[in-house]
């Protein structure tokens, strides 16, 4: 059903990490098709904010809504279903090195309740095409370059057709040229209608790919124009 409701919204939310408040009074919306950069210094609270969005940390005060789930009312049993509506990409969320690309992706589909082998095969082909890796089904991760591995990670995040992709430093370990390729993959995904929230330290991206910017600084999140 078509709706104008934001894919993600936070209102007067306080973000906690280990009982300590790291960000206060956070309010912003992300709509379908938005591309949003999240910037800020290391330790400023970006990761805590993202963890709260995918319910690795609980939202203790304020309100939030992600992919139709109210964060302040979220129960532990709802968390897996929220995460199926979000694609998560970050540096230490690695591939399983002991199985090939297709098996890595099939594992995720099985873990999220897919049963039909044909549908799984088709969906795997679709997401690999989407990230430009249509011919690498049977390759082992160690046979892929860093950029290709990260594309597989992005493909994995896209398997369940998420409403929003949350990426925490997805190009942090890649050289600039490869990082650029990954950015283009994100652009393609975004153009096909998936919102993207991407934490980054790469300010070149902000210039080359103009988009909304949320700055995390001094315990606050503020919207910034270029």
């Amino acid at each position: 059903m078509f709706t104008n409701e934001p894919v993600l919204s936070l209102s007067q939310a306080d973000i906690y990490q280990g009982g300590r408040i790291v960000l206060a009074d956070v309010t912003f919306d992300i709509n379908k098709e938005d591309f949003v950069f999240l910037i800020g210094r290391t330790g400023s609270g970006k990761s805590s904010l993202l963890k709260t969005l995918y319910a690795d940390l609980w939202l203790q005060s304020g309100s939030g809504r992600v992919a139709g789930f109210a964060l302040e009312k979220l129960k532990p049993k709802d968390v897996p279903y929220l995460r199926r509506k979000i694609g998560i990409v970050f540096q230490d969320f690695q591939l399983f090195m002991d199985r090939n690309v297709e098996e890595n992706l099939r594992f995720v589909l099985k873990a999220t309740g897919w049963k039909d082998q044909t549908k799984m095969k088709n969906r795997i082909s679709e997401v690999l095409m989407q990230v430009g890796l249509g011919t690498l089904h049977k390759k082992m991760p160690h046979q892929l370059s860093g950029g290709e591995q990260q594309r597989v990670v992005v493909a994995r995040a896209m398997l369940n057709e998420p409403m929003i992709l949350i990426a925490d430093e997805p190009t942090g370990n890649l050289d600039p040229a490869v990082g650029e390729q990954i950015m283009q993959v994100f652009q393609t995904i975004n153009n096909s209608g998936t919102a993207i929230l991407m934490a980054t330290h790469n300010y070149d991206f902000l210039r080359k790919y103009p988009a909304r910017i949320l700055r995390v600084e001094d315990g606050k999140v503020t919207e910034q124009g270029l």
Binding site: Y54, R83, Q94, A111, R156
Partner: protein
């Protein structure tokens, strides 16, 4: 190529060995209980109360006395036959002489012994207090001179059996605690070594049920295998014992032994399942930071 890291896999040799040992010991205790119960029942049902009669009773009076005794609730029946036997004073004299090798008839003119009834009692009257009541009851019957039973034997057997049951129960409980702790620690290590895999599963939206399932399946399988090994070992041990211990064959109740062995297998599955469930559930409830 390295083998795939399967979720729920962990080194199971130690668990299999410990669980089998625990189940074997529990089964062994169970078997001892079965054998001792049968033995006690045998002893109890063969424990006789001797009712000595007055000397001047004629056959009619003895019959009347017999009819009165068989109505008593404590008399053991086999089918419809009361387990009471009449021992005349002549038979008693022969038994006495055979047992003591002293022929009193050589220096006494008459047989000082009395006619008696030997009554086998129902198993539930095998307690000192109840036996005392039986004695009083029988002694109040006309024609009864004295009632005799072997004192202290009853209480001694009861006390010793209770002690053995308590020791066995404590032993079995300790074994169960050990196995639960062992499985808990092994699974905790397994979860730690697979934390990246589990974290990935959680982040892509796998439910805890999906993550737990391989662990539970493995726990159940280990319980089943341990139970089967323990049951086979117990069966072999029992057969060896029957061949080598005289009279043990008469105490066997194949149906109950079968139920016990089946119960050991089921217990293995239940222990495997519950231990795994509580360990996995506990560690999956931790936040990712705590798991790290």
């Amino acid at each position: 190529m390295a083998s795939k890291k399967k979720v729920g896999s962990y080194p199971g040799g130690m668990i299999l060995f410990s669980l089998t040992s625990a189940l074997f010991l529990i089964g062994f205790c169970g078997m001892l209980v079965l054998q001792s119960k049968k033995l006690v029942r045998y002893i109890r049902e063969n424990n006789e109360v001797r009712v000595f009669l007055d000397k001047d009773l004629d056959a009619g009076q003895q019959k009347k006395l017999y009819d009165e005794i068989i109505k008593k609730p404590f008399v053991l029946y086999t089918g419809t036959t009361p387990q009471i036997s009449f021992v005349s004073k002549d038979v008693a004299a022969k038994e006495f002489i055979a047992e003591t090798k002293e022929d009193f008839s050589k220096f006494l003119n008459e047989n000082p012994l009395r006619d008696s009834y030997r009554i086998k009692l129902r198993e539930d009257y095998f307690e000192e207090v109840k036996l005392e009541e039986v004695k009083t009851d029988l002694e109040s019957v006309n024609g009864v001179f004295e009632v005799v039973y072997q004192e202290n034997l009853v209480d001694n057997i009861n006390k010793n059996i209770t002690k053995i049951y308590i020791i066995m129960s404590v032993f079995a409980v300790i074994m169960l605690i050990i196995i639960v702790v062992l499985m808990n620690n092994t699974i905790r290590l397994a979860l730690y070594s697979q934390r990246l895999l589990i974290r990935s599963m959680q982040l892509v939206g796998a439910t805890n049920g999906f993550i737990q399932m391989p662990f539970l399946r493995r726990g159940m399988t280990q319980g089943l295998i341990s139970g089967l090994i323990a049951a086979v070992l117990l069966f072999v041990l029992l057969q060896l014992a029957i061949r080598n211990i005289e009279g043990l064959a008469t105490l066997q109740e194949p149906e109950k032994t079968g139920i016990l062995l089946g119960a050991i297998v089921i217990l293995g599955i239940i222990i495997g399942l519950i231990s795994t469930f509580q360990a996995v559930h506990r560690y999956l409830s931790l936040s990712l930071d705590e798991l790290y």
